[in-house]
Assembly symmetry: C2
Homo-oligomer: 253 residues x 2
């Protein structure tokens, strides 16, 4: 919770710099130890969490704003970002109204406005991220997708929609470049797919299909050190990967 002065300062600056009524919320997916993770922020002195988000500068392209917001939370540049939906229920920010309504008259209070929020989802390499809390949060941390805390506002809906979209995308586009480290083994990649889809896949068929897409390069040397047979290392063929991203995998018609 902010002090009254902090709130007023924030609101004054926001009104001056940001487009009113519009916000951006990002669902940042990461993958670690076989689990799909989401980057969340925890409200100061409260139990609830929320998605990293922010506002758009008055002359800033949407995509740039999303980049900027995520750079602040993750330290990362050039994140894979996908706009997936605008959430605009007039009631969606009611909680904000309640929260701050006594501290500042509605006219001056940035948060009593209605906000449409543009939903982005991001895929990032878990290990590259340095989570950083924002002004309203005590914590910024990865949370397990299977063990989510209570989320503020409509952020649970936004998260679910992002996940649905990601799963759909899996059917006609490659995924993984942004979620895996540079080099990885086929079983590791399979685990990613299984985690996203929440479903077991056949090892052999997965490999055949994946290789069939022609977006993987196999490195000469297998990974050593494990207690078992050394798996081959793969990396994505960026050129083909990019092409598959824009053209999609299977025509359908």
């Amino acid at each position: 919770m902010l002090t009254k002065k902090e709130l007023k300062d924030y609101c004054d600056k926001a009104r001056e710099n940001f487009l009113p009524h519009i916000s951006i919320d990002c669902v940042v997916f990461g993958f670690h130890e076989g689990l799909l993770k989401v980057l969340l922020l925890k409200v100061k002195n409260e139990g609830e969490w929320y998605l990293p988000g922010g506002f758009m500068l008055k002359a800033e392209p949407i995509e740039k704003a999303a980049d900027r917001i995520l750079k602040e939370r993750t330290g990362l540049d050039k994140i894979f970002l996908q706009q997936f939906q605008v959430f605009g229920d007039p009631e969606r920010s009611k909680e904000h109204f309640e929260m701050y309504k006594d501290m500042l008259p509605a006219k001056e209070n940035w948060f009593t406005n209605r906000f449409l929020t543009i939903g982005y989802y991001a895929l990032v390499d878990f290990c590259d991220v340095t989570p950083a809390p924002d002004q309203f949060s005590a914590t910024c941390a990865w949370r397990d997708l299977n063990d989510l805390p209570e989320l503020k506002l409509d952020h649970a809906l936004i998260l679910k929609t992002a996940l649905d979209t990601l799963r759909l995308q899996l059917n006609y586009q490659p995924i993984g470049y942004n979620l895996m480290p540079k080099e990885f083994t086929m079983p590791e990649l399979q685990k990613l797919y299984e985690t996203i889809l929440d479903k077991k896949l056949d090892r052999r068929n997965f490999q055949r299909r994946m290789l069939g897409f022609g977006i993987l390069n196999r490195s000469e040397k297998p990974r050593k050190g494990g207690a078992h047979k050394a798996p081959y290392l793969y990396s994505f063929d960026l050129e083909n990967y990019q092409a598959a991203l824009t053209e999609g995998f299977k025509g359908g018609w």
Copy 2:
């Protein structure tokens, strides 16, 4: 072109009723005589056309706003609407700035603001639509997708994106219920698909696949009157159609 007074009135009302900086633009697809059509408006005394669009009331859900806007242009209720992208380049409304900048000081002028526009596409039965121009247009009419006029602002981009999205959707969802009349023949439905995809399809394989989806009911009586073999009439099985819409056709994984 509006008179100065008309413009001022419009702007005053807009500021009072609408959310600033946000607009909605709709790409309305129709199908007629084997051609895919788009509903467009023509600016008064000018050659350029633009997409039906409008603004959002301060307490109105986005979807409702899109419905309202389309109701005004087409006379139709309960249109199939799909939000597909927000267009928010800061430069995208430059034309507006130019157009009205001399008529009204920027502070009072609704149109000199930056607008993010939420893109919707709609699929409608061509025959049901009664095109009605808006305040800024002389004409509202169906235009052939293969013979598009110059479009204002970034509306050409919006239209293209809508079409790409529609084509993609064709691969994992049923389409047609909103574009075809109640009853139709298989060749007619095929023509719709061919038109959207801009590609010839095999008659027999199309039929097999289409029937395989299980979303069609075949009527007892074939259509009479043609100079050739009477084709069967089909209609959509609404229940299965709806299910296919939400679940999609093919899993992929």
